[in-house]
Amino acid sequence: MDMLYNILIAPFLEIAKSPSFFAEVVIGGLMSGVMYSLVALGFVLIFKASGVFNFAQGVMVLFAALNFSGLLDAGLSIWLAFPLTVLIMVLLAWCIERLVLSKLVNQQDIILFMATIGIGYFLQGFGEFLWTGNVRKLDVGIPQDAWFFGDIMIQQSDVFAAVVAGILVIVLALFFQYTRIGRALRAVADDHQAAMTVGIPLRSIWLIVWSVAGFVALVAGIMWGSRVGVQFSLSVIALKALPVLILGGFTSVPGAIIGGLIIGVGEKVAEIYWGPLFGGAIEEWFAYILAMLFLFFRPQGLFGERIIERV
């Protein structure tokens, strides 16, 4: 009986007792969700264009951040280091397309997925080879203080990340929806061979989409690297993007954002109000439970494309 009370009644009483703290938890969750979304976006872009789950996306975040911070440490200004890192990510995309993807056209998705695992391991080692494994501080001027509105605290760095993510999503959504390249990307995602037969250059499309994913990885890497320093644990943040993808759908850019926000708020509220009942650290698995609940009602995710298979 006590258990039921603690699960069904006590948390809500606590919320009612301190609504300002609840508001802070929700805002904190939204801000964390934005950070997850930044990583999830990279997955979505590549999945949209190739139907491949890019296992290397987390490592791409790390690799981009390593290059950016390495160039800064070498004495370059932010304004030079940023475009140079973008160039490196484009070069990486070109290498991936030339050396890996072009050899695997029309192969099963699982083969391409396995290839991305290999790319991930390679990039991790190559990144360490280039820039060593030392932790690098990344300071690009993102404000680190907090605003206080009454009892409610909001991190300035979180708001900065939210604004950047918002701009990124708008640009990407417009790009996919209204440009020729965007339409071509969607066509390639539907069917490689069909897209090629109507004259869509598959290899150029893959190059573009991996470059854009590299750019998104750089933005995510800068945001996360500014928070915790650039170190190899950054590659682990990809795990936080998985429930976001399950919930938001693997093919929707807005889905990555909305999914991120739902997961962010859901896991923070669950951790703070229900976590102590289970010994804490429930947000780790609660995100997946939440995503699974959504899947019961929308198996393709909130914004994913409905799959209709005719026999």
Partner: protein, 435 residues
């Protein structure tokens, strides 16, 4: 016949000259290193193993090895994963299995039975299974200069000192932020005991290993509960994230104390000035201001053999140096009994149990101020001097503050023996006699 006599004479002369060579012993002292230079804990592993390796190189280059026996080490990458650590142990034990320093509580736990069976000592310097300090039950496991429980008591003693006395602990509330991993959970039973004894309360905040970089919910709760002190048992990316989050909620940083695995440059660099005031326990000194560094420069750095020069002088690099120095001294001690030749695991265990690193010996090693004296015995594998130093980050570097804080051994030792006895009963071990 003449040819035969000439050859025999020549052979005798050659043999004689070899035997007359004073120190050069046959073979090498093989030592395995279960390193982690990749993965989420790479930044920590790179510094600590660089220290270990550079000390071995120093001994080889400067002294020609330990009493003439050169050290040969091999690396096996674990990625700080317990399963890979066990695999590395199995792969290296036949050729290199003399003594292991896994720098991982998970791996230490996993190889306790194997190492004991194989008669190979495991040196878990300031980590691993606390109850292994009872050498009667754990003859091959060593955890000097201090265990997690001793460290926890010393941290509580430091907080009490900060508050104005042990009685001031009563009614206080602490936040305990820990890695959700055997390492992070190790001090919990003892914190429970101390909470009861001294009348304080503490809230537990586990950080999952896959969410080390996302701790917002924890720090929101800490902001709400406003604990008097926060104690951290972290590792890897968990530490810089926690320190940054603490700074961002304006938690008083001088009331935030990490254990000695949460107090290296790797942990505070990302936060920089934001981490100013943060404290941590320490088992040895920081920086390069010790005579041993003069030798390291001459024999290792200047000969371009440094494993990772960027880490030299860092907290974790110094920990690696001290770790290797203890290993070398234990082998040297063993050689006094068994002769100047490569030592087996069993012989090194004897060396560990008879290790007495005095202040005079530390001076000879050029490590005065870097590491305190320690004496190990058959029954007490934690050593006779458990406790902590406290260091504080000033925004750019660590500084030692205050004196050595001794552990509450009167509380710790009986529970160590109790837990060891429980383990012995579970495993059907008859504790050996150390009298």
């Amino acid at each position: 016949m003449k040819k035969f006599v000439t050859s025999a004479l020549a052979a005798t002369l050659v043999a004689g000259s070899v035997l007359a060579t004073p120190v050069m012993a046959a073979g090498t002292q093989n030592i395995p290193l279960l390193v982690y230079r990749t993965g989420p804990y790479a930044a920590n592993g790179i510094a600590i193993f660089a220290g270990m390796i550079d000390y071995f190189k120093l001994v080889n280059n400067r002294d020609g090895g330990i009493n003439g026996v050169k050290i040969k080490y091999t690396e096996c990458e674990t990625g700080y994963k317990t399963d890979r650590g066990v695999e590395c142990y199995d792969r290296t034990k036949d050729e290199y299995g003399s003594i292991y320093s896994p720098v991982s509580t998970g791996i230490t736990y996993a190889i306790i039975d194997k190492a004991t069976h194989d008669k190979i000592p495991v040196f878990s310097m300031g980590y691993g299974r606390t109850s292994a300090a009872d050498g009667r039950v754990f003859p091959y496991i060593f955890n000097f200069p201090s265990t997690y429980w001793s460290q926890a008591t010393a941290i509580i003693r430091y907080i009490a000192k900060d508050l104005g006395g042990m009685d001031k602990l009563k009614g206080k509330n602490f936040a305990f932020i820990y890695l959700d991993h055997p390492y992070g959970k190790e001090p919990i039973p003892f914190l429970d005991i101390m909470a009861k004894k001294f009348g304080f309360t503490y809230d537990k905040y586990p950080v999952p290993t896959t969410s080390m970089t996302e701790q917002k919910s924890i720090w929101l709760q800490i902001r709400r509960t406003k604990p008097d002190y926060a104690i951290m048992w972290g590792w890897g990316a968990m530490n810089p994230t926690a320190i940054k989050e603490a700074a961002s909620i304006h938690f008083p940083m001088d009331h935030f104390i990490g254990n000695w695995w949460s107090g290296s440059e790797v942990d505070v660099k990302a936060a920089g000035m934001l981490a100013k005031g943060y404290k941590s326990a320490a088992m040895h000194g920081t920086g390069k201001n010790y005579p041993v560094y003069t030798d390291l420069k001459k024999y290792v750095y200047d000969t371009k053999q440094a494993d990772n020069l960027a880490s030299a002088g860092d907290v974790l690099y110094n920990r690696g140096l001290v770790n290797s120095a203890y290993v070398v001294e234990a082998i040297r001690t063993a050689m006094k009994k068994f002769g100047n030749k490569p030592m087996t695991g069993e012989q090194i265990r004897w060396g560990m149990e008879n290790l007495d690193v005095t202040a005079a010996r530390i001076k000879e090693l050029g490590m005065t101020g870097l590491t305190p004296p320690v004496k190990v015995s058959c029954a007490n594998h934690e050593g006779n001097n458990p406790g902590i130093f406290v260091q504080q980050w000033d925004g750019t570097k660590w500084h030692m503050i205050g004196d050595f804080i001794p552990a509450m051994s009167d509380i710790v030792r009986p529970i160590v023996e109790q837990e060891a006895a429980k383990y012995a009963k579970e495993k059907g071990i008859t504790p050996r006699s150390c009298s």
